[in-house]
Amino acid sequence: MPNLLSKRKRGLLDHRGLWLLALPALVVVVLMQYMPLPGLIIAFKNYNYGLGPWKSSWSGFSNFTYLFTTGVAARITYNTIKWNFLFIVLSHSLAMLVALLMNELSRRSIKIYQTIFFFPYFLSWVIAAYLGFALLSGDRGIINTLLTRMGRDTVIWYAQPDAWRVILPLAYLWKHFGYIAIIYFTALIGLDPQLFEAADIEGANRIQKVFRISIPQLKQLVVILVMIDIGRIFRSDFGLFFQFTRNSSTLYPVTDVIDTYVYRALLTLGDPGMAAAAGLYQSVVALVLVLLSNKLITKLDEESRVF
């Protein structure tokens, strides 16, 4: 035991720079993610503000029923998984493609592309929603104005669920792919140049280099990033589904996800116990999804598994 401990201590000392770097993030994770965990108890309580979380009476699973009682339950679960799965696939493929292309460009032009792609990531969905509204608004939107000029009928976009099957992914990509692309790009420029030099000597062309060197080298990073996204699959992007659609209820068949449903259902009641129940349900399913995907990855390729 003493040996082990001292070894560990030495490890801490050796990597103290890295630990110091990670410290702020660790503090945030502990404070924001672990400290509130005991509060989950209110998901099983008739929460009373006066009595507080510990003294309120137990309610069993009754806080969970509203999530599953109606036909909506299937729809919101399906939409949540479908959209997030699609978003993960689309954004990571596009990001990878763009990162590979950027890698072929000159340094100066990269700065420009980087800024253009990355910029939307910093806009809040509220602002993005107004940009979207400028395009899609019924009587004054840019798209409808163009349609009128072209002599076509206008479309009430906020009452056309089918159109949002395309609009939602576009909006998501516009806002997110730049962020992932930058991460991939950073990893690409960090690759050992010797690998490429060797390939040049062997006479490999650009395409071959991409498929034989760049992509395989990024595999580990892709797995980790995708895994993080899968962990969030049940916490969909509330801003996208609520703000960007202007909470237009005619679009719900396409845009309604667990988060927007819970928001709507608890608007009148404001019951913290029922809200906590929804959060717990999302977290448990997310945990299961992450464990399953890790298992799947382990089966496909032992080396790439995350844990």
């Binding site: 502990v30 929460y47 503000y49 109606t70 906020y158 909470n247 009641l269 913290p272």
Partner: protein, 492 residues
């Protein structure tokens, strides 16, 4: 594994430690201000830059008279509910807070124990409040027979209306006060469509105009039981033996939906009205009329200030008084308040002391307003300040604003006296036995009530709507509401 256990163990240790620290802090603060009592008050409104200046003046007055140091925090219109819900959930201490059906929702928070029962405090420290507010309204603030909030005295009845822009009403000889059937309003809209390019006839919220209703003689059909948003169950305002009905299958609801569809197809309202915002629209685009969710005497003056538009406001039905309308502006005392009796003493003063009331609402004389004579104020000063007058006790204490009639408060009281009284005035619904059904029905209602406006086949859409509501348990809510109403009637 071991590190995990250590982390969990440390966290468990830290929890009680944190609460000890928190308590220690507040204890020492209390002893420090033994003579002067601090009272905190959370309000809704536009945050005021000049608030500290006004509060200094207020506290000079309160300190001498009551030994109170008042601290008002104003949260923005959009933030207030979230901020207060978080404070309730965290058990944070506060003394006074605004509460109502539409912000910091009263029934769920009060029934979950966020506020102190006030019956005894009112008797001991709130005598003026009890003598000013008519006794019939108090039931609207009761949960389980106990008063849980102080009702602010202002207009107590509720009436939806339309503000017609005077320019267009005059141009087409339309007199809103002469409307004897609401469908006459549609004729005015049609004239706008025919003759005024680029002007939208009407901005409505998510509801229609009942075409065959006579706004001078009849009131609206239902009193809602759960909330303004959840109007899928209700009681006919004319029903003397209150029977709870599913309003969605009533002919009145059907006509309301049809009127919206008619307005959509005739171009009376913007095609995507449900995704638009009233204030943004009326300020940013030319409308010939727009909805007023709650009208009251003198509201034309407020429209002029808010939208810069000269309007004629008229009701879509006669006013009615219900639990919801009587309890639409209230102030509660927090369950963890350190000085509930002082808080009540203060509120009693706000309710009855005209000087204090107007100081809080309008600010300091000759700085934030000037005296325009005859009880009127002139708000056109360098420094702007103003908090919602209905948030402070008795609004009938307020100075008059430009555009208001000299007898505006008398008009308000007359209007209240003429209002139809709901058979459910004083009944407060406890949603907790059917909260799962209310959550599910609320979500379904929010979805379908809009989609029926756009559906190709209305019959089919309405049938789907009703089927979904049945699945979500609307019948169980109706049964529960009827049970509670019968029990309430038995106690009267």
């Amino acid at each position: 594994m071991k590190t995990n256990r250590i982390i969990v163990f440390t966290l468990l240790l830290m929890l009680p430690l944190a609460s000890v620290l928190a308590n220690g802090g507040s204890d020492s603060a209390e002893t420090a201000s033994k003579e002067m009592v601090n009272i905190s008050w959370h309000q809704i409104g536009n945050p005021q830059e000049e608030l500290p200046v006004v509060m200094e003046e207020v506290n000079k007055y309160l300190g001498d008279k009551f030994g109170i140091n008042l601290d008002i925090t104003v949260h923005g219109w959009g933030d207030y509910t979230t901020k207060m819900q978080t404070m309730h959930a965290a058990g944070e201490s506060f003394d006074l807070a605004f509460t109502s059906g539409w912000a910091n929702p009263f029934i769920p928070t009060a029934s979950k124990g966020a506020y102190l029962p006030l019956d005894n405090l009112l008797k001991d420290y709130g005598k003026d409040i009890l003598s000013i507010l008519p006794a019939k309204y108090w039931d609207a603030a009761k949960i389980d027979g106990k008063i849980m909030a102080i009702i602010n005295y202002q207009i107590m009845s509720n009436q939806r209306g339309i503000a017609f822009v005077k320019e267009y009403a005059d141009k087409y000889g339309f007199d809103p006060d002469k409307v004897t059937q609401n469908k006459q309003i549609f004729d005015f809209f049609q004239q706008i469509v025919d003759n005024e390019e680029g002007v939208v006839p009407y901005f409505n919220l998510k509801e229609g105009i009942l075409p065959d209703l006579n706004p001078q003689e009849e009131t609206r059909y239902f009193d809602d039981i759960i909330s303004e948003e959840d109007r899928y169950i209700g009681v006919y305002l004319t029903d003397t033996t209150p029977t709870v009905v599913n309003t969605l299958i009533s002919p009145e609801y059907r006509r309301d939906v049809e009127s919206v569809r008619e307005m959509l197809s005739a171009g009376y309202i913007p095609s995507d009205f449900t995704s638009l915002n009233l204030d943004e629209e009326v300020k940013g685009r030319e409308y010939a009329s727009f909805i007023m969710t709650r009208i009251k005497p003198g509201v034309e003056g407020e429209n002029l200030v808010r939208y810069g538009k000269d309007t004629i406001v008229s009701g879509l039905y006669k006013p009615y008084t219900s639990t919801g309308s009587a309890s639409s502006t209230m102030t509660a005392i927090g369950v963890n308040s350190q000085h509930p009796e002082k808080a009540m003493e203060l509120y009693n003063a706000v309710y009855s002391d005209k000087y204090l009331y107007n100081l809080l609402v309008f600010g300091i004389k000759d700085v934030h307003y000037t005296d325009a004579g005859n009880g009127y104020v002139n708000l056109d000063t360098d420094k702007s300040y103003g908090l919602p007058a209905w948030q402070f006790g008795d609004q009938f204490n307020a100075y008059l604003m430009p555009g208001q009639d000299p007898d505006v408060w008398q008009q308000t009281m007359d209007l209240d006296a003429s209002a139809v009284v709901s058979p459910l005035l004083g009944f407060v619904f406890d949603p907790s036995p059917v909260r799962n059904e209310i959550a599910a029905c609320g979500a379904i209602n929010a979805e379908y009530k809009i989609s029926v406006y756009y559906a190709d086949n209305l019959d089919e859409a309405m049938a789907d709507f009703n089927k979904a509501m049945e699945e979500a348990g609307i019948d169980r809510i109706i049964t529960e509401a009827q049970k509670q109403i019968d029990a309430w009637l038995a106690t009267k």
